[in-house]
Symmetry: C2
Subunit: 346 residues, 2 copies
């Protein structure tokens, strides 16, 4: 049997270039001989925007669509006004490719520093909805710039959109040893959306009798994330709450240097995209200081998504071992990439 992976690679801005290079190095090293890896690089990001004014065209989407998956480094640069690349590229891609399952695992690995006292056990996954909520761009402004300006943002939640992500989260919880799923929302205040989320959650729960469920308001969830993160196994939540709590989750479980994420289209109709949670960090770009671990862990998520479970686990074990033995020595981006590549091929 001959297998192949056809990967679209978007290094992007700032440290994106450096970390993606290491991600690809580890990917090549981990893949069995019989898997043919093809990569095609795309120059999306701030440079292209400055040069052409384009962020992501229909032709770009067509080109990306032909690949099995997408690996992204980071997009964003101070030279581009805030929001342009976020809305024009990152969110546009999530919406165009219907990446409704935004997967963000948090695991505090041995040897990794956490801002929390007492090194708590942390091993949970956030399933963040990726195509609805306040991220739809619905809303507007009247009387802009006047003392009577009114600006609205509309959170849009559909039964279709909520149910599919909730069901995905239940399936993920079902597949984990603890089989526990927590819904995070603010259903006592956002009662319209809250009702839809809560009802859908309770309805889908009936299909998964083995999964233990609970509900926590988003504000209280931030408390538990710092006082008792061990209580979480799988969390399902809306787009904005997911954005907020996954940054906090990354911070408590070792920082955004090791936080990986997947923007997943479970049906496979469109390629899924994998990216580190960190941004382009222009202040340290080009200096070989960036930690490629988050990108390498995103490659593991990518492999798992494509069915390469053994290889995904091998990468995760390598990163885990590397972090445990890292000590205080400072290594360059490339040195860490080399060490990880050596481990996975060893």
């Amino acid at each position: 049997m001959s297998r192949s992976i056809d990967l679209a690679v978007i290094p992007g801005d700032g440290i994106g270039q450096e970390v993606v290079a290491q991600g690809l190095k580890v990917l090549s090293a981990v893949l069995p001989q019989d898997v043919k890896l093809e990569t095609k690089e795309f120059d999306f990001g701030a440079r292209r925007y400055r040069a052409t004014g384009e962020t992501l065209t229909d032709a770009d989407l067509d080109a990306l669509k032909r690949h099995d998956a997408i690996l992204l480094g980071a997009i964003g640069d101070p030279s581009v006004p805030s929001g342009v690349l976020e809305r024009g590229f990152l969110l546009k891609l999530r919406f165009a490719f219907d990446h409704h399952v935004n997967l963000r695992p948090s695991k505090l690995l041995p040897g990794v520093a956490t801002p929390l006292a007492g090194q708590p056990e942390i091993d949970f996954v956030v399933v963040r909805e990726g195509t609805e909520g306040p991220y739809t761009g619905n809303g507007g402004t009247i009387r802009k710039g006047t003392p009577h300006e009114v600006a609205t943002e509309v959170s849009v939640n559909t039964a279709f959109g909520v149910e599919r992500v909730v069901r995905d989260a239940f399936a993920r919880a079902q597949a984990r040893p603890r089989k526990k799923l927590t819904l995070v929302h603010k259903n006592n205040v956002l009662t319209f959306a809250g009702h839809l989320w809560t009802n859908t959650f309770n309805k889908v729960a009936e299909e998964f009798p083995e999964v233990t469920t609970d509900y926590i308001h988003v504000d209280a969830a931030t408390i538990y994330l710092v006082t008792d993160p061990a209580r979480f196994d799988v969390i399902v939540t809306d787009n904005l709450f997911g954005d907020i709590i996954t940054d906090l989750a990354a911070a408590v479980s070792g920082g955004i240097g090791v936080a990986a994420s997947g923007n997943i289209n479970p049906s496979g109709e469109f390629p899924s995209m994998f990216e580190p949670v960190h941004g382009s960090a222009p202040d340290i770009a080009g200096q070989g200081k960036a930690d490629p671990s988050a990108t390498v862990l995103s490659v593991a998520l990518l492999l798992r998504h494509l069915g390469y479970e053994t290889e995904a686990a091998r990468i995760e074990d390598a990163v885990s071992a590397d972090l445990a033995e890292r000590g205080s020595a400072t290594r360059t981006t490339e040195e860490i990439g080399d060490a990880l590549a050596a481990r996975v091929s060893g």
Copy 2:
């Protein structure tokens, strides 16, 4: 000169009764002889709702309106469906009395446990907008209960509403030694509201040249709250972001056992309301286990709001000293209240 405080007291549900009793005890103890304290108790909350179906009537609002300030314990009980008392009482009161400055100080006091490693310096105040954003109840549901349900929540932001709370926050920053104000929003995604908030912030900043300003996305703010809380002095943010980050802020600075808050109408047109951030905690209600410190600190905010700065500081010093000396001995709600009352009158 004869002075007086005419206080509306809403003990509410669960531990509300117990903690408010201690708050009033400390208030009586700290006030100078010449200040006449009058209190009137209101029976709002779950019991009244179950008995009458009422949460907060126009007549109630009229009655409350006549007082100088309101002290609230906690509202909420599992016997009442989620959202009923929150929307029908707490939020209704904030909106009716135009409590647009929701003041939530976070200070990690000596001797107080924090989930963060290394006991960082924490001393900041969040100024949360209280009458707009996604809390307005705007939005709705179509095709409820069907596979085609759509539920929306509308965040409403007005130049009037944003500017007054931003100006209040600047004035508070100006009055503090560090004179630093951070705007927390998500202006790269919520671009309509984000533009209004950011522009207003930058415009008002010109009136306060001594105040240093910065901007942080809400997701990144949760990271800083656990990795570098010392960077914050005053934060201004919208209603929902403020809800989320103040629970996290309370957690890192000693927990909701000591987190106080004020729902303030700066013009004085309506009485302001002061309450602990914690809820009614029905699981420990009536057992004398609740820590009244958050309520006592809310009394300090109340006194400061009414111009009793010396007395407010005396209460804060008493709570601080009590916490520092508390050790591991378990004391009842009443014992803590007695100790604080003794300190402030001593």
